[in-house]
């Protein structure tokens, strides 16, 4: 073993493991929103840093795929860089920052602004797959609640928010009902991104490595954010456009630019921002 670098299978995972994960994925796609338990493997990144997403991507990726990896919407954040280079190394696959060119997009905390197309797959890194977890810590109880379609407790939480704050106080990982049946945690994307899931043309796969669960939203599935008729779900809106590209319909990051706390707002989706900027300023060089 000393000094010898072991040979790794394509995309790191052995074929048995990939088969096991694909079976779990098929089950997940067949029952939209249902959390399928799977025997999550250790991979060379720590638990909590995207091992679920990595295992899902590793199970489905092939040499003809084009992989994009984003974290907080950006390609260049450290964890996205780390994961992208991991797959480049173990799967010898083409990588890209262009949302439109990607076949697989692994993401943490954002859905790209560019509408997804048929044939694209989103892979989400999920920390807590159970939407009821913070209301009911017991796995044995929450399993029953899903099986028996008993989601009253979730609505109680929303009721309490309105009674206390005058509005529903969930800004990210906002619970959704998938295909009219299962209550799902869409991962900690801001609620701004929830509407993108409804009747999306792409396949959405969710991997929670540490909690050992996989779930899926197949293309063209109904996805509704939970609300009351008289307190309908309203995603965040921003008061000003992106300072870099002028977009008025994208999710913005707040950036502190000077010692006086001066701020500006810029698109969290860096690829979208760049593309938009080019559209607005076709004669300018790339920054």
């Amino acid at each position: 073993m000393n000094g010898h670098r072991p040979e790794y299978n394509y995309a790191y995972l052995d074929e048995q493991t990939k088969r096991m994960i694909r079976r779990a994925l098929l089950k997940a796609v067949a029952i939209p929103g249902f959390q399928v338990p799977f025997a999550s493997r250790e991979v060379p990144l720590p638990r909590g840093w995207g091992t679920g997403g990595i295992q899902v991507t590793a199970a489905i990726i092939g040499p003809s795929d084009v992989l994009k990896v984003i974290d907080q919407g950006a390609d260049d954040t450290t964890n996205a860089v780390s994961i992208r280079s991991f797959f480049h190394r173990v799967a010898d696959v083409e990588t890209t920052t262009d949302t439109e060119a990607a076949t697989i997009i692994q993401t943490r905390h954002r859905i790209p602004e560019t509408p997804l197309k048929h044939g694209q797959i989103m892979v989400y890194q999920v920390p807590i797959p159970e939407p009821l977890r913070f209301l009911e810590p017991r796995e044995t109880e929450t399993r029953q609640m899903h099986a028996l379609n008993e989601y009253g407790l979730m609505y109680v939480k929303l009721y309490e928010d309105i009674a206390k704050y005058g509005r529903i106080a969930k800004s990210y990982d906002y619970p959704v009902l998938v295909n009219g049946r299962y209550l799902v945690a869409p991962s900690p994307t801001p609620s701004f991104d929830n509407p993108k899931l409804h009747q999306s043309a792409a396949l959405h796969l969710y991997g929670a490595g540490r909690e050992k669960r996989i779930y899926a939203i197949p293309p063209h599935t109904d996805v509704e954010s939970l609300d009351f008729d008289d307190y309908p779900f309203q995603p965040q809106r921003f008061d000003s456009p992106c300072a870099l590209c002028g977009a008025t319909d994208s999710y913005l990051d707040q950036i502190v630019v000077d010692d006086n706390g001066g701020k500006l707002y810029a698109c969290s989706d860096t690829d979208h921002c760049r593309r938009n900027h080019r559209l607005e300023h076709p004669d300018e060089d790339e920054a």
Partner: protein, 360 residues
């Protein structure tokens, strides 16, 4: 004009270089050899092997060196490597009765067949920094005779619950690393989780039972440390084939007696087993094992150590460290969402319960 931050790739490369430099230390000092770590830090190596679920002292030593002494990093390294190994088969269960004890003690009897054998232990050392020039004594007689387990002796009188039920089809235990465990778990599944679990966490849980959070009145029936033979069944060969020896530490706790309708009361067991030298972990494991059997004995579940979901979900150091440390990753998108929400809640004068449809 603000330009979006780039350079994540370069930053990571620099971080890796700095890490390597930190880990090497002063160049005038020889690099620690893997053999030195394996030979002179065997307790640490045992822990990494146990929680890494892989018996390979050299590899564990290498992991400890590469992780610059960060135990959980080392365990993570070992486990990641373990994932890639092919599964060739399963051994026969090891027979710790045939273990040749390097160390074997029992707190339940003054003397036992085979005697109390202290072996290599810190127990009676004085915790004073020693003088490194002290010469090793050479009167180190090894006593390799095998000794019957104390629990088998007690069990012969039927004072102690047997180590397996009378009617037992001996089902194949599942493998926690290749199957998704679901609650409620079998005892075998729990023991796997505890064997892999963080020593500190289990120590605290075990300690809590002694302080009244689910007390089971434990006695250390036996602790034995030594090598056992690993054997496999080979098709076409009549007898089991030995493939090597590994060192283990086993702890059997004898606990509160319990009666059942129709059966006289008996002492009950708690079990702990780890690779290499790991008494503290084996003992903690045995205490927690017994605590988690509370429902089996109709005991009231009142303490965290008796709560299977709580103990098993939080015992894994690699999972725990990963999730705790993931907080270092950027979370600014969600923080932004929460800040916006908070600002709106604070600025909304009608925080009134009856306003219709919150205006954004």
């Amino acid at each position: 004009m603000y330009v979006a931050v780039k350079g994540g790739q370069k930053a990571i490369a620099h971080a890796h270089a700095l890490l390597a430099k930190e880990g090497r230390g002063a160049l005038s000092v020889d690099r620690l050899s893997v053999d030195a770590v394996a030979g002179q830090l065997p307790v640490l190596v045992s822990r990494v092997m146990t929680e890494g679920s892989l018996y390979d002292p050299d590899l564990a030593a290498r992991a400890i060196r590469q992780s610059q002494g960060d135990v959980i990093e080392a365990i993570t390294l070992l486990r990641s490597y373990r994932t890639t190994l092919p599964r060739l088969g399963y051994t026969r269960p090891i027979d710790t009765a045939r273990l040749t004890p390097q160390r074997r003690v029992s707190a339940t009897f003054k003397d036992i067949p085979g005697g109390q054998q202290l072996g290599a232990t810190f127990d009676y050392t004085h915790r004073l920094f020693d003088d490194p020039s002290d010469v090793l004594g050479d009167n180190l007689a090894e006593n390799p005779q095998s000794m019957p387990r104390v629990t088998d002796l007690l069990g012969a009188d039927a004072l102690l619950e047997p180590d397996h039920p009378e009617v037992w089809d001996d089902p194949e235990p599942g493998d926690l690393t290749t199957e998704p465990g679901l609650f409620p778990m079998s005892r075998a599944g729990r023991l796997q989780a505890l064997a892999r679990g963080d020593e500190g966490f289990l120590l605290a849980m075990g300690y809590s039972t002694q302080r009244g959070f689910g007390n089971s009145h434990p006695f250390a029936g036996e602790i034995r440390v030594g090598e056992v033979e690993i054997e496999i069944d080979v098709p076409g060969v009549e007898h089991p084939v030995p493939v090597g020896r590994i060192e283990v530490t086993e702890c059997q706790m004898i606990n509160q007696f319990v009666g059942a309708p129709g059966a006289p009361p008996q002492f009950t067991r708690g079990y702990g087993l780890v690779f290499g030298r790991g008494e503290r972990k084996a003992m903690s494991m045995a205490l927690v094992d017994r605590a988690l059997r509370a429902e089996e004995f109709d005991e009231r579940v009142v303490a965290p150590a008796q709560d299977e979901e709580f103990v098993v979900s939080h015992a894994d150091s690699v999972q725990a460290a990963g999730f705790v440390e993931h907080l270092k990753l950027p979370h600014y998108v969600d923080f932004q969402a929460e800040s916006s929400l908070l600002r709106r809640l604070r600025s909304d004068p009608s925080n009134s319960k009856n306003s219709v449809g919150g205006a954004e």
